[in-house]
């Protein structure tokens, strides 16, 4: 019903439709230049950070677990927006001036690192102890067991929750406009500022995000299927 009315509002109003069509390309450009590279780079580095953090938290040394815990707790406990501000403006006030795009990458990677580390930790813990022991009995060291036996199995378990983190990240990148990075949502705001039709443009942005997330979920399915290969 709502959607109907909305479509009606849009189509009854040819100006609205024109605006919709004309703003599509700038927004897609915003996605291609901002949203997508931000997401991909931050996710990749974030996952590596997450892996290190997860392994630190699983260690039996306090001097490794405590920093990992504090990091995870601080990042998960505070708003993304503030993290961006601290990296960009806060470090700037203290004399470390980092450009917008790398600042965004740092903040988002730290964010992904914290959330994903919990996922990875849980997935490592979910692998039966027998797998560690079997690896040990064929002579593997901790690192070898982790790399060759545990992580490949943990990967399968962690794909669905990691894809949640990923999808959240796609949308969180819209915050990057606060620190001068132009992306999809910023584009919609720019156009809305000119035309004052913010509802239409925000809904359009939302649809684009949806499309991106949908495509990503297809990719997720593919990866999951590949990893399912070896389980019944």
């Amino acid at each position: 019903m709502f959607l109907n009315s909305l479509l009606f509002t849009i189509s009854a109003n040819m100006k609205g439709w024109d605006l919709f069509v004309n703003s599509l390309w700038p927004m897609i450009q915003g996605a291609i230049k901002g949203t997508i590279p931000l997401t991909l780079i931050s996710f990749t580095t974030g996952i590596m950070l997450a892996l290190i953090t997860a392994i630190m938290r699983l260690s039996s040394y306090k001097f490794l677990t405590i920093p990992a815990r504090v990091y995870v707790s601080a990042i998960r406990g505070t708003p993304m927006l503030v993290q961006l501000f601290i990296v960009f403006y806060g470090l700037g006030q203290l004399g470390f001036t980092i450009n917008p795009f790398p600042s965004a990458i740092i903040a988002f990677s730290l964010n992904v690192g914290a959330y994903a580390s919990e996922v990875i930790r849980a997935s490592i813990l979910s692998i039966p102890k027998g797998q560690w022991e079997a690896a040990q009995t064929v002579g593997m060291s901790y690192g070898q067991s982790l790399r060759r036996i545990i992580l490949p199995q943990a990967a399968r378990v962690s794909i669905p929750p990691l894809s949640n983190t990923f999808i959240s990240l796609v949308k969180d990148t819209s915050l990057a406009s606060l620190i001068l990075v132009t992306e999809l949502f910023r584009k919609s705001q720019e156009i809305a500022a000119r035309t004052y039709d913010f509802m239409l443009l925000y809904v359009e942005a939302a649809l684009l995000y949806w499309v991106i997330c949908f495509i990503l979920s297809l990719v997720q399915d593919r990866i999951e299927q590949r990893l399912e290969r070896y389980v019944s």
Binding site: Y89, G95, L178, Q189, E190, A192, A193, R194, T195, D197
Partner: protein
């Protein structure tokens, strides 16, 4: 009291050799300017997606006359002063209204816009004809703006919104009765959205002035801006730019 004196006179404005910000800018030949890019018709993206608007053009002209390039850095109003404080920008060109509180924390150039506050009401409204009538009415305002203060001073209840478009949407939906805003911005809105069903019900007598905002302690830079602004006033360039955007001279 605020903590900004410390920030604004902090180490970043003179480098190790003691050169001032002005010297630095002139040497590099580029100035970093903070602006929203989403505040039409002052600073926004046109159909070709180019940053433009009154403030943007004035800024460009000033820089041209100083013989330097402009590097606009677009961010939201919320982080505008954070960007200035942390020396991300050297100046803000974004219709920053001059008021005593801000003056305590920042330096201002001479004003380049003179406007006034107006009350916007639904087209069919008849009971608001002056600023005195808004007492007790609910007004949609951007909470960080000058106009919020004006509305409050006249006894309106405040509802916070993100910008003019949202404020007017609130009026259209009957969630609030009025909004107090900048006359020029409202005029632009009414030109873009002629069917909006709103009108200007009253205009303040006192004028409000907006200017470029700088961190404190950069008199040399402010001075340089003022010189150029004066020159632009004298040779009519400023008036020309104003007329291009508003059809009238809003610069004085």
């Amino acid at each position: 009291g605020t903590s900004d004196e410390d920030n604004s006179t902090s180490n970043q404005d003179t480098n190790a050799e003691g050169a001032s910000l002005y010297d630095e800018i002139m040497e590099k030949g580029v100035i970093n300017v903070g602006t929203e890019g989403t505040y039409a018709p002052f600073t926004f993206h046109n159909d070709e997606d180019k940053l433009t608007g009154y403030d943007v053009e004035v800024m460009r002209e000033v820089a041209k006359r100083m013989g330097i390039e402009v590097n606009f850095m677009e961010t939201q109003w919320d982080s505008m002063f954070a960007g200035l404080n942390s020396a991300r920008f050297d100046v803000i060109a974004n219709q920053v209204g001059i008021n005593p509180e801000r003056k305590e924390n920042y330096d201002f150039s001479n004003p380049y816009t003179v406007s006034s506050a107006v009350v916007v009401v639904p087209e069919d409204n008849t009971d608001v004809t002056s600023f005195d009538d808004i007492e007790g009415k609910t007004s949609a305002q951007s909470l960080t703006s000058n106009y919020e203060k004006i509305a409050k001073e006249h006894g309106a209840e405040i509802q916070g919104v993100e910008g003019l478009a949202q404020a007017i949407e609130m009026i259209k939906q009957g969630r609030v009765q009025i909004t107090v805003n900048d006359r020029l911005a409202v005029l632009d809105y009414m030109q873009q959205q002629p069917d909006a069903g709103i009108k200007i019900a009253a205009q303040q007598d006192e004028v409000s002035e907006t200017a470029f905002a700088f961190r404190k302690g950069n008199e040399e830079l402010v001075q340089a801006f003022n010189e150029q602004l004066e020159a632009m006033k004298e040779d009519g360039t400023l008036t020309e730019i104003a007329k291009k955007w508003f059809g009238e001279d809003v610069s004085q």
